[in-house]
Amino acid sequence: MSDERDSLSPTKIGLGVLWPAFWTALPIKLAFALVFLAMDMMHFEGRLGLGFLMFLASPVTVFATPIITMGLESHIGEGAGIALLFLLCIPIDIWALGVVGRTYFLEKFRKEPPDGLGVTLWWKCAVVGAVFLPLLWFIVGTVTSTSISMAHSLFEMELFKGIPVAERISAELSLWGGVSVTVLIVLLLIGVSLIGRMIRSTSETARPVADSYQHVVTRWDLMRVPADQGLMLTALTLGGVVLSMLFWAGLPVTTPHPHECCKKPEVKAEPPFKPLESLNKDEKLIAQLEGQIDALEKQKAEAEKDKDKGKGKKAASAPEAPAPKKP
């Protein structure tokens, strides 16, 4: 068991803390995000998923997002709610990392969690994220755009010209998607492993736990149960009621219009097809064209008549023309 604990890879440690911490903090962050959205305080651009991920994956994004937004000119949206949500995420993340970190230290490292573990893990994650995420953003962005253009030019070659559109789209997507997803996964694993190393270094100074496994399970179990359950329940209910009232108070009665920053391309359909109107219009057009054709034919016939008359007069007065010679 001890060997297994020592052989825990940094990637496993990083994932073991970050993944549950993400889910622990998520519902609280989402509740605030929802209220801000309802109150028209946040406007995301097209990449809603990415924008949301930036918030919800804090603390690693807490410093990284402003750097990416300013340094790499990638804009996720507008509104005071975005900054406010980032500020609110700080205490939520510290609490979530504290809860998860303490459990992890007891269960996996079998070590006593040090005091202020939540704050320690938070600032370390934030610093690693601030350095690593902009780098990841830049590399993945560059790799994706390069592989898209390479895949595109590959299929422009004469050899692949005959490939039908659907097959070509799937093949191009597989090529550039495969490359960029691989790079993204490798870089993410490196980032998670960096955080894992940092967590392991924090655990090295902690005291080992001497209790039995059953006792350790009971300890981390009780850590998650609030000391005053009545107070916790009342606070949660009150918080829920206040947030619900804010949500319904802020919710627009009619369809909200997209913010200037984040207008989406308008979906337009062709004007409706009205068979009767279209038929009448076409019939009129055909009748009109028929009239025009008749008039033209009459005109032509008269012109030919006049021509024949002229020719007849000329033929009566002039000698017969010789037959053309064959070449």
Binding site: A31, L34, L37, L48, V165, A166, I169, T255, A269
Partner: protein, 373 residues
């Protein structure tokens, strides 16, 4: 003084609520039911991976609530369906939100069904003695898809009309029953009033009734077989971590529901439902396509190997039918008791291939749409 009768303190007297509960309990066995529902042991303790079933139930209830509220205003006739939907969006207070929530709720339901089925598959929870739960789950998956398909027509705009036309045409290719099913659903040579009426009845009456019955059976079978528990860990670890359903798993389920609710609301804000022009038998420049969760199949049918009458049958009916038959037969083919997904390489690779293919063809369909536009 010593002879005065002893008076019980007021706290020992049952309150009105306690009396009511005791009255009901005596007649229906409320406490026994509560104990049975909440004290179910969860082997290995509560987990986030187990929340999808409860989340699906929550989404269904919310879909039913929003659907009933929408029915107060919606008129299921070809003359008024489009206008009444526009009325809901533009004139009814919070109507846009109800409709958008209902729309994105259906998407959430499909995503959660995929997640739930994936979890059961990866955890090996379809293996004996849980084969029946898996089979009923597959039927529920079909019903969820049916909800999406029938609900899509109801707004009666170009998108709805043409997605349904494409869907019914695909159905028409099924041997023996295809023609009957297509004619039954359309109720005429082209989609019209009969189609709308039939889709509406299926959407609001037949499918909810079927879903409620099968979901009840699914839960009953789940309770009878018990939770499968984690696929890893020693017997000592699993026993030490085993917990009751209440409170920890219930708490996780509630958090899961809150996350889904918030996500659906966020999507409703970000992309509220906007209708195209009213349905007509001429698509104009609009490129008909089905809902996003059928896009991968739609794109698959664009490939050259699926061209022609036989190819279309192969891609639209034979392949998906064979895949569903394989899923149904899975618990009877895979008799190995091993549940750890990392020791079942065929299952793991198969799952990855299916997921990547669905993702790849869905994204290809989106790129293809841009290409056509």
């Amino acid at each position: 003084m010593g002879n005065t009768p002893a008076v019980n303190p007021p706290s020992s007297q049952p309150t009105v609520i306690e009396k009511v509960i005791a009255f009901v309990d005596e007649r229906v066995g409320l406490k026994q039911m509560q104990a049975k529902m909440l004290n179910e042991p969860v082997p290995g303790g509560s987990r986030w991976a187990y929340v999808f079933g409860s989340v699906l139930l929550f989404i269904f209830i919310m879909q039913a609530v929003t659907g009933i509220l929408l029915m107060f205003y919606y008129v299921p006739t070809a003359d008024h369906a489009y206008a009444s939907t526009q009325y809901i969006i533009h004139d009814v207070d919070y109507g846009w939100f109800l409709l958008s929530y209902h729309f994105w709720g259906s998407t959430a339901m499909v995503v959660c069904v995929f997640a739930h089925m994936s979890q059961v598959f990866l955890w090996g929870a379809y293996k004996p003695p849980r084969e029946m739960i898996w089979l009923v789950g597959l039927a529920l998956f079909g019903i969820v898809m049916g909800f999406g398909f029938t609900g899509y027509l109801l707004p009666w705009d170009q998108r709805a009309y043409w997605a349904t036309t494409v869907g019914v045409e695909i159905m028409d290719k099924t041997p023996i029953v295809g023609d009957f099913m297509a004619r039954f659903l359309k109720g005429g040579p082209t989609p019209g009033q009969m189609t709308l009426s039939r889709f509406f009845v299926i959407h609001v009456m037949i499918l909810p009734a079927a879903l409620m019955g099968l979901a009840g059976l699914h839960l009953f079978l789940f309770r009878a077989a018990g939770p499968a528990g984690p696929f890893r860990g020693t017997a000592e670890e699993i026993k030490a971590k085993t917990d009751f359903f209440f409170p920890r798993q219930i708490w996780k389920d509630i958090v899961g529901m809150a996350v889904v609710f918030a996500s659906i609301c966020a999507l409703a804000f970000w992309e509220p439902v906007v209708l195209l022009e009213e349905a007509t038998p001429d698509p104009g420049d609009y490129h008909p396509e089905p809902e996003w969760y059928f896009l991968f199949l739609f794109q698959l049918l664009r490939l050259k190997i699926f061209a022609g009458e036989f190819g279309q049958f192969l891609g639209a009916i034979a392949l998906p039918g064979a895949f569903m038959a394989l899923l149904a037969a899975l618990p009877f083919i895979d008799r190995d008791p091993e549940r750890n997904i990392f020791k079942r390489p065929v299952a793991l690779i198969g799952w990855i291939v299916v997921m990547v293919s669905i993702l790849l063809f869905t994204m290809s369909a989106i790129i293809n749409r841009e290409f056509l536009d």
